[in-house]
């Protein structure tokens, strides 16, 4: 069991490294908040554990975990969306080229 979990962890880390290293600096802030929202996956952990505890006070622990994780998820996705919404490519009235065409890919 342990090794399976570790294998999955290592492979996912590789995917994370590879994918993120392709993101341009422009998008680093939304990327940060977006991946922060993903780390709210603890919401799943909160749901699972809250379903399994027995003593009432442990339930409240689960409840608190659920609230915090939901804040993280909902806040994270919404705020990222707000930021990204602003990244629009439109036709400017007069396209401003860089000062010279050379040197650009």
């Amino acid at each position: 069991m342990l090794e399976t979990l570790v294998i999955v962890f290592v492979l996912a880390s590789f995917v994370g490294f590879e994918v993120i290293s392709k993101v341009p600096a422009t998008l680093h802030t939304p990327l940060m908040s977006g991946s922060n929202a993903i780390s709210g996956i603890t919401i799943v952990g909160a749901l699972v554990v809250a379903g399994m505890v027995d003593s009432p006070w442990a339930r409240w622990l689960g409840f608190a975990a659920l609230v915090l994780a939901t804040i993280n998820v909902v806040g994270g996705y919404l705020v990222t969306d707000r930021m990204l919404q602003m990244f629009r490519k439109k036709e400017p009235p007069r396209p401003a080229a860089p000062v010279s065409g050379d040197g650009r890919r």
Binding site: M1, L47, D54, L66, K89, A97, V99
Partner: protein, 487 residues
């Protein structure tokens, strides 16, 4: 059923990955974020379908409450306060991991209370305590709690409630090391106790609470000595931690959704941190040991490393600057942290529109660490609807300053300091900079001759082709706009 749920988790993970992949272009980034949120929804729904969840009313209440708070925060926050926001959300995530881990420990305690035997454990769906469970539960507590308290200190530093300057007291470093060692002991103790019984969660319980306390203090001690302006790096690192906390919770619950997503976030946070450090030409260790950034753009005295710069400074007026700009062929705007402070993003766009209307070619040169977080300038200018094809990264535009008539530097300082190229004794030596000094004319808009974030003097201001336009960036830009209009 568990198989189906696991496939749903896989689907969620795939959506997270695809969502992150779409972040590689501004055109697809938004849909990527949406994809990612659909993945989250799938993961949540699949978990709910698994049954055995919290009393429904409690669950609905929890999600409603958390969702409302999250939505409120997300819609209220100012674009310029994004780093704080991310820090706070991060703290919540870390806190959730701690609570989940503690609740899991509580299950073992409950089972142990019924009788220290396999039967009671089985009734609770538990296996006897093993080394893996002990270590991963305690790691969740440790990483989660450090993330929690560290994030809120960073939050405080970023919005000014905690002093931005590096705080330290004698013996702080020794205390930090001591606490870390105590933490290790707190992990070792229940591991050692495993030899006696695998059904008594008492030692684990004790260790978890002790570790929680230690880790909360540790989080504070780790972040408090770091300067406020270094907080974005810290937040990014804490983001990585919150991923690791989620992953270790995943190891506790043997839950693939948590492990995969946690690993994704952990790796991505680490990469981002590395990129930021490289762009600032500093090592992560140097950042973490603290004492560099002195606070969010507050006027700093020239640092000890700064060479005394001699020469005269030319100051200009909005009228003269407007003429220079309006009759130029090519203008490159270089925004910096001061643009964010002055909230002048809309005004700069207005100026660019005016100039473009007169046939001037305007582009923006974005330094990777201009501002106080990566992509800070991009987000600001995007808010002001500047089309992103007018924004150019450092490497794209650096050759072009030779052919630029006016480089308009707005609230930027370190990122245009030629000392980074010329002066090997400067603390920023080696950092790649925008070569604005190669332009025919440079206009620098700032309020004073004060240094920027790194606290070093800027010889650019003394160059013959440079003129200073003193004043708050927004006010000066407004003057410029009206002057250009009047021409």
């Amino acid at each position: 059923m568990q198989t189906l749920v696991n496939f749903a988790y896989l689907a969620a993970a795939v959506l997270f990955i695809l969502g992150m992949k779409r972040m590689n272009s501004p055109a697809t980034a938004r849909s990527g974020n949406q994809l990612s949120s659909v993945g989250m929804l799938i993961a949540v729904v699949a978990t709910l379908l698994q049954g055995e969840i919290l009393a429904p009313w409690m669950m609905v209440a929890g999600v409603a409450l958390g969702g409302a708070i999250g939505a409120l925060l997300a819609t209220r926050v100012q674009m310029t306060s994004m780093p704080e926001m991310v820090a706070a959300l991060n703290g919540f995530g870390g806190g959730a991991s701690v609570l989940v881990a503690t609740a899991e420990v509580a299950r073992y305690v409950d089972a142990g209370d019924e009788g220290l035997a396999g039967a009671a454990f089985a009734r609770h769906g538990l296996e006897p305590l093993g080394a893996m469970t002990v270590v991963t539960v305690l790691l969740s507590v440790l990483i989660g709690a450090v993330t929690f308290s560290g994030s809120f200190v960073a939050f405080g530093k970023l919005n000014g409630r905690v002093p931005g300057r590096p705080l330290a007291f004698p013996g702080m470093r020794a205390l930090t090391v001591l606490l870390a060692l105590a933490g290790l002991a707190a992990i070792a103790y229940p591991l050692a106790a495993l030899g006696d019984t695998r059904f008594d969660a008492g030692p684990l319980w004790l260790a978890a609470w002790v570790l929680l306390g230690l880790a909360l203090v540790l989080g504070v001690l780790l972040v408090i000595p770091i300067g406020g302006a270094d907080m974005p790096v810290v937040v990014s690192l804490l983001n990585s931690y919150s991923g690791l906390a989620a992953a270790s919770t995943g190891f506790v619950l043997r839950n693939y959704a948590l492990i995969v997503s946690g690993a994704l976030v952990g790796a991505s946070g680490l990469i981002l941190t590395k990129i930021m450090c490289e762009a600032m030409n500093r090592s992560l260790l140097n950042v973490l040991l603290g004492g560099f950034g002195t606070g969010g753009g507050e006027t700093a005295a020239p640092g000890p490393g700064g060479t005394a710069v001699a020469g005269t400074v030319r100051s200009t007026s909005p009228e003269d600057a407007a003429v220079l700009l309006a009759y130029a062929d090519r203008v490159v705007i270089v925004p910096g942290y001061g643009l964010a402070v002055a909230q002048a993003q809309h005004t700069v766009r207005e100026l660019a529109d005016q100039l473009q209307g007169r046939g001037v070619q305007v582009s923006y040169a974005i330094h990777p660490v201009a501002g106080r977080m990566p992509g800070h300038m991009n987000v600001l200018l995007a808010e002001a609807n500047v089309p992103y094809d007018q924004l150019f990264e450092m490497d794209e535009i650096n050759d072009q300053f030779d052919r630029t008539d006016v480089a308009l530097v707005i609230g930027a300082n370190d990122v245009v300091n030629p000392a980074a190229r010329n002066d090997a004794s400067s603390p920023i030596y080696g950092m790649p900079i925008l070569n604005v000094d190669h332009a025919k004319n440079v206009i620098v808009m700032k309020r004073s001759m004060a240094a920027g974030y790194a606290g070093v003097e800027n010889e650019l201001f003394y160059l013959p082709n440079n003129q200073m336009l003193f004043g708050d960036a927004k006010k000066s830009l407004e003057r410029l706009v009206s002057e250009v209009k009047a021409l």
